[in-house]
Symmetry: D3
Subunit: 133 residues, 6 copies
């Protein structure tokens, strides 16, 4: 149960409907997910977040699939149930196979392990890394 | 200053030297980084971790560059200074441009934001995501 | 299902009942939440934690509402389901509107994003910040 | 040492200069912090992030000081050195005393503790919290 | 519902069955937990992870119970529901009483609190700690 | 540089001196660490935190060494530089060898990895774990 009530299309203010319409036409889908319906209680955050998602997740120097897999890796690190489900679905739509998902999570697990070994032992950064920056 | 003293090649046990040699020949470099020198105080963890890095980070369903960028995203999420420097260097060696790094971090930042919006509002997972699993 | 059985008032030791009574009279409620009933298996931690909550969350240099909103922001960052629900309820009781909750979570989301941009890029702390400390 | 070189005003593209000018006039300061100079390598992220900071952190249902204190609490939870220094400075400018900072961090510490007690014991959410949502 | 289907023994490849058999004989149990059944979709990660668990969690300089309690403390810090349940069960099997669990979580809660106080205030590391390293 | 100035013994209020004296006599040392000197700006938090450390970290169902090692594991997970150094020092004083530290960090690393595999794959909790709770 969300902290605030999801806003359905028929009850939405015009500014919210405009965002919903843009999400549906951009993604070629017939409805919007719960994430957007909950954010809609705060129309400014809804619009700002959707615009950022659209801008950041579009193909650029990285393709859309790579970006979605990075999203899954971060969401698994933070244990965000909603985001793991929704971005795994988006990544699969963009072409992620089960074998690719397995590698995303294997790298995520390994990075979370070595992050703690490096931080836990207080390993000093190699001079070579710093001079190259 | 690390919690235990880094182990230099000339002071290393044969089992540690074998790992160092394997790291250097696999990566075609002339020395090993501080991370491995610190882990070498625990030869079993050194060998196990290196074998895992070699196995997980090799090209498979995902190419090596994509894997390194996921590593950077997780390390930035966890704020592991050592890992951010070392895996950015590895990703650059594998072909990551500054424009690609910028997109890795833009996605990482966005995911960390929406992870908290979704978890903070307790957004319920859409039925469609669950049924597809 | 909690790892240890919640302790109901009628089954509680006198030391636990004394804490329950203090919670109920301080908060002017007729029962205590599951958090306290679970902690009650460890009476010393129950008493210590309740005393800390009472001391830290009382109005001081900051009013009670501001403190509850900070609690929500931290709990959303850590994705603690129980704490998000309970401290949102407490904040609402202290006067938090839906518009205020939306701003708490918008700031929380933004801070989680820029935390990763600053840490991910390894932005050096400005000299001005350090000299002022 | 940051992963990419900070962009100084004199070397900045017109689009970046426009953001720098807006930061300086909005905040009535004579220079911009390192965070913005590093982000400037990615002008789209610079503009988007600055616009979000300006929109989210302006007084609304919450005043600017409360928002800055929430920012400090989240940044302390995530251990973001840069953000702790910069947002403590911003909060102080907005009126935060040392006594208020002490309470922000006392609440932050307490919330991080009880978050783990609640999650660690798997305390079930009280029915009353769910029905009120 | 997991992101990939758990693999039951009767449907498993020989390489997966070999790991399942090893888990069951090592732990003297008649079935394997869901964690392994889900990992089995990626046989290399299944084998590597099981071998690491077996090697790291066996008695060494620390006994098995101490190791399981550390696992619980980390899992509570990260709020991993699955791992909290499974490693609490393992710790109890190894002799952890409810009083010991209470102390594990009391230390975990306290450490999460003081971690934020120390990081939030930017307390400088005492020279004595560094010189001893 | 800390956010507030450390309080030296000679400048301390009587209530702060009393805590410093108690720390020094309890630990049989001639001075207090920076953590306490910084907290001393907020005498109530200083006293409350010291009393909690003294109560929680004393031998009980778990011995002092086990508690300090759990503290190190949590601090490494959260990447708290100050706490890693100070609690490693405390654990060594209580008898932790380098081999024991290596195992603490190996378990910490492994737990951080499997936490993300379990959460990332959304592995359902086994019925057996729930029924035993």
């Amino acid at each position: 149960m969300s902290l605030v009530k999801p806003v359905e299309y028929e009850d939405a203010l015009p500014a919210v409907r405009a965002v919903y319409d843009n999400i549906m036409s951009t993604r070629r889908v017939m409805s919007v997910n719960n994430f957007w319906k909950v954010l809609a209680n705060d129309p400014a955050t809804l619009a700002r977040t959707w615009n950022e998602v659209k801008e950041v997740m579009q193909p650029g120097a990285l393709d859309a699939l790579t970006k979605e897999m990075i999203y899954v890796a971060v969401s698994a690190t933070n244990n965000c149930e909603y985001c793991i489900y929704s971005h795994t679905a988006a990544a699969r739509k963009a072409g992620m196979s089960d074998a690719m998902l397995a590698e995303v999570l294997a790298v995520t697990g390994l990075a979370n392990k070595t992050n703690r070994l490096a931080s836990g032992y207080r390993v000093p950064v190699d001079a070579a890394f710093l001079s190259k920056s």
